[in-house]
Amino acid sequence: MAEALLFYTLAALILGLGVMVVSARSAVHSVLFLVVNFLLVAVLYVTLNAEFVAVIQVLVYAGGIVVLYLFVVMLVNLKKAPERFSDPRRLARSGLLLGGVVLALIVVVVSSSLRAGMASEGTLSGFGTPFTSGNTEQLGWVLYTSYLIPFELASMLLLVAMIGAIVLAKRHLGD
């Protein structure tokens, strides 16, 4: 009961904030909604026994990435008037429409396939590492053993991205 209540509340807030992110006129507001959205997602993770991921979500997403967005918004959008919604290509309306349709389709697919899966197999059973609530250490083990190479690749990706971002954003010395 409490769980359901929590879920529905969170889901409503997340979706609502998502809509706000997409629809806010001011980019700064958009960012703000995004942060709150992420925090709520983090809470959702906690309810799903994923504390570590939740903390990472807050730390990296809310504390890092979104701050970056905020920075860029401030750098870029200061003098600009809020965006106009008139659409010369009429893409917005068709996009909305098509999005809605696809969502509906996906809902159908997902619900039916999940139902089918549950009906046929009873419950979905795991095949990997079982975990408990306090799973940070386990996560570390998995990450540094089975997923070592992807992990290293990710770190390499981050390094490359860092260098790339610096190169892109740095004013050339001559300028």
Partner: protein
């Protein structure tokens, strides 16, 4: 219901109030200590030796008119100080004041990460506050402040990782217990980390000598130039609460938290006569004193110095410390 809802709520209430009260007295303490450092008396009018100044100041702030600038983004302007204070207070949820569950609200297995992540949210208050004021000094200050916070956060987090390597747990209670087991405060095992975290902590709380975001001489009042009254008070509270948080982290991680000195030496057992939380609070206050002491002593850094210190000194040293710790961990 009692255990899961009421008692935590009670604890929260007590803790929040305790922190707020502590902040008021911390302000008083700061004024007094700095005054003494400068051979002055400090506040003397309100109450004996000015003790009641701690109550007078909040009252003044609450009663003051709450001004919102015309061109400001009203909602964000209001939201910013709240976003600043809330993380500062939330952090206390995982700070253990003593060994029993009675002394803390929650001991989660990612406690340290929780603290890091939550404090990283605090930066929004500053940025948004500066931006929402729609005024140039606050904006500049907020950009400076957020850059500073993000930069030093990297160094501090790196350093924390090396401490975590030695303890093997992220739980704050666990870290203190690890120190109890090893019989030595981590200050002696990880002295470099201690120095790094303390310097980083100074920068993260915008304290002297890193108080550039509120450098009056350059930026009038920093990011909260346009703020007054209660909203200003919230920023103020957040800053001092953050000071307490940093002190608490330092104490927990390096000075044995609630443990007495030399926790493994039996004949010092009489020191346990003082309850654990007194030890903890005492140590925290000691570090708050150091904060103030440093403010009274050191001049402010220039901004480029600040950044190069962060990126070119602290982060490399932190990485080096991490590597050395890792090597030691592997070898021994």
């Amino acid at each position: 219901m009692l255990d899961t809802v009421v008692i935590p709520l009670l604890k929260i209430a007590v803790l929040v109030n305790a922190v707020l009260v502590a902040v008021t007295f911390l302000v008083l303490m700061e004024r007094k200590v700095i005054a003494w450092a400068q051979s002055r008396l400090g506040p003397m009018r309100v109450g004996p030796y000015g003790i009641l100044q701690a109550i007078a100041d909040p009252i003044k702030l609450i009663l003051k008119e709450d001004i919102t600038p015309v061109k400001a983004d009203r909602h964000v302007f209001t939201l910013a100080p709240i976003m600043s204070l809330v993380p500062a207070l939330v952090v206390f949820a995982v700070v253990p004041f003593g060994p029993d569950p009675l002394y803390y609200i929650g001991d989660i297995n990612v406690g340290l990460l929780f603290i890091i992540s939550v404090t990283s949210i605090g930066v929004y208050g500053i940025i948004l506050g500066g931006w929402a004021s729609n005024s140039k000094y606050p904006l500049l200050a907020s950009l400076r402040a957020s850059a500073q916070l993000i930069s030093y956060e990297i160094a501090v987090t790196m350093t924390l990782v090396s401490v975590i390597l030695t303890t093997g747990t992220l739980s704050l209670v666990g870290i203190v217990e690890a120190q109890q087991e090893s019989g030595i405060w981590f200050a002696f095992i990880q002295p470099v980390a201690l120095v790094l975290i303390f310097i980083g902590g100074l920068a993260e709380t915008n304290r002297a000598p890193f108080d550039l975001p509120e450098a009056e001489t350059e930026l009038t009042g920093g990011f909260h130039t346009e703020y007054s009254g209660m909203r200003f008070a919230l920023f103020f509270l957040a800053e001092y609460a953050n000071m307490i948080v940093i002190s608490a982290i330092v104490v927990l991680m390096f000075f044995g938290g609630w443990l007495r000195p030399f926790p493994n030496i039996a004949f010092l057992g009489f020191l346990d006569l003082l309850p654990a939380w007194i030890w903890f609070v005492g140590k925290v206050f000691l570090f708050l004193y150091v904060f103030i002491w440093i403010r009274a002593t050191l001049p402010r850094y220039r901004y480029d110095q600040l950044m190069s210190l962060g990126w070119k000194v602290l982060i490399p040293v932190a990485i080096g410390n991490l590597v050395v710790t890792g090597v030691f961990k592997v070898v021994f």
